[in-house]
Amino acid sequence: MTAALRFNNLTLGYDRHPAVHHLDGAVDTGALMAVVGPNGAGKSTLFKGIVGMIKPLAGRIERGELSARDIAYLPQAAEIDKSFPINAFDMVAMGLWHHTGLFGGIDKRGRRRVEEAIAGVGLTGFEDRAIGTLSGGQMQRMLFARLLLQDARVIVLDEPFNAVDAKTSADLFDLVRRWHGEKRTVLTALHDIDFVRANFPETLLLAREPVAWGNTASVLTPENLLTARRMCEAFDEHAAECAVPTVAA
């Protein structure tokens, strides 16, 4: 199996403080992988690095033949201006960016695809609603519809099921499963350990440094989870420079 993403001694962070420290490994093409760890473990930072929003402090991320457009990203707290006068249809239609670009129009086929995506997340009838009138769960459904249209080979979801009810998260996870069936690579940050055990074959347990990575059952052991919690508690404002050589591979 080929790797979709490969991390080589990757360190990501802010102001020289590492939030992800010396991560090595590869994400296989078509993997359905959970990224688990306490708050502040570096999950969001890792995802931002993967989509190229922040540059590594050291090491590198190899994306193989993937270009930026092949990676779709759903941030944890999307900075969406809900007061903006735009309706759900137009918002979902943004997912067609790679077809329309800056100037292209949306033809009949495009409109049908948007409608199908909206139906796929159970929001039919909400097309003309202003986004400010959607509930939290409906908002998340709308963002998943946009992801559907992006048709990306790698999909990165940062805590997508936070603050949505059981029905919504079940519906949305059905889409994740469908993406997995279509051989897309899906990385998801999650806090619900039982949910991860039940649904994700592969897990990366992160506590700034990788604690364990591989088969979910062997990663999510009580010992590993305890180690992860302890490691995240240690943060030093005046940390010395890291001695591990940062030779780029």
């Binding site: 929003m53 900075e79 969406i80 201006d81 903006f84 006068p85 918002m91 943004m94 800056l102």
Partner: protein, 288 residues
């Protein structure tokens, strides 16, 4: 009645020119104002209006009340401030508003210094309040040209501009067009302020940008309609303001802005979307 409404424009060429000027100005500035408002940059127009002052002043210093020199100077000063602001906001912890505040104040201080060193009070009045009743051919062409450029460029950058307002992270993840579109937009703001300052002066130029835009917000839930309403409202304000200024003998620039202000207050009170009176009227809620 006919004489009252159309007479001044039929009779006097300077009134026709003024009407053409305010109309062109409103068509370009209205849509720009809507985007400024939606990007929460309503006061940016005001700040930029001050920022163009030293450029116009240097232009004046070099070649007197010369249209081309003052326009070029204003454009350069405005773009320099816009670029510095954007650069500092994107590269440092300083937010856009703070970065703009620092640079526009420096620019303004510089502008006032230059104007008072070399100019007379009359020149200062021209720069501050414009002269919509004395638009020559060149100025009229400049304003119309700027309006044309504005509408074309706005059409080109419309999509990234909208997406960057609603969901900046999404735009960043699919395209690098956000920053160029933002700078192009700021350039359009400067362009319209330069147009505006010939007609209405640096202080009031922002009025024909923001008041119609805020008016549009009370009548439309959809950005396209908002833009159309803003442009129409600005145009009508121009016409009505000139008319009132002619009949009542009040200065024309402020009259135009005051009419736009009347539209705004009426919309604020009775607007279809979130107007105050409408909010206060008891309305039965719907079933679903």
């Amino acid at each position: 009645m006919y004489d009252w409404l159309l007479g001044p424009f039929v009779e006097f060429e300077f009134m026709r020119r003024a009407l053409a000027g305010t109309t062109a100005l409103a068509l370009g500035a209205g849509p720009i104002g809507v985007f400024l408002m939606l990007r929460r940059m309503s006061l940016v127009g005001d700040a930029m209006a001050h920022a163009i002052l030293p450029g116009a002043a240097v232009g004046f210093l070099v070649s007197g009340l010369n249209l081309f020199a003052m326009t070029a100077g204003g454009l350069i000063a405005g773009c320099v401030v816009a670029l510095l602001t954007g650069f500092v906001a994107r590269m440092t912890e300083l937010k856009e508003d703070a970065a703009l505040a620092t640079f526009y104040l420096l620019s303004l201080a510089l502008g006032v210094t230059i104007v008072s060193m070399v100019g007379t009070n009359i020149d200062l009045l021209h720069v501050l309040f414009g002269s919509v009743l004395a638009l020559d051919n060149q100025t009229l062409l400049l304003i119309a040209g700027n309006a044309t450029i504005t509408l074309i460029v706005l059409a080109l950058i419309y999509r990234p501009l909208v997406i960057e307002c609603v969901d900046p992270n999404f735009l960043r993840s699919v395209s690098g067009a956000g920053a160029p579109a933002h700078f192009a937009f700021l350039a359009l703001v400067v362009l319209n302020l330069v147009s505006g300052f010939h007609a209405l002066g640096t202080l009031l130029a922002v009025g024909i940008m923001m008041l119609p835009a805020a008016t549009g917000r009370f009548w439309a839930r959809d950005i396209t309609l908002m833009v159309v309403i803003a442009a129409i409202c600005g145009t009508v304000s121009g016409y009505a303001g000139l008319l009132i200024s002619y009949h009542a003998g009040v200065p024309s620039g402020p009259a135009v802005i005051l009419v736009a202000g009347v539209f705004y207050v009426v919309s604020l009170l009775f607007g279809h979307v979130g107007g105050l009176v409408r909010q206060m009227l008891p309305q039965r809620h719907l079933e679903a």
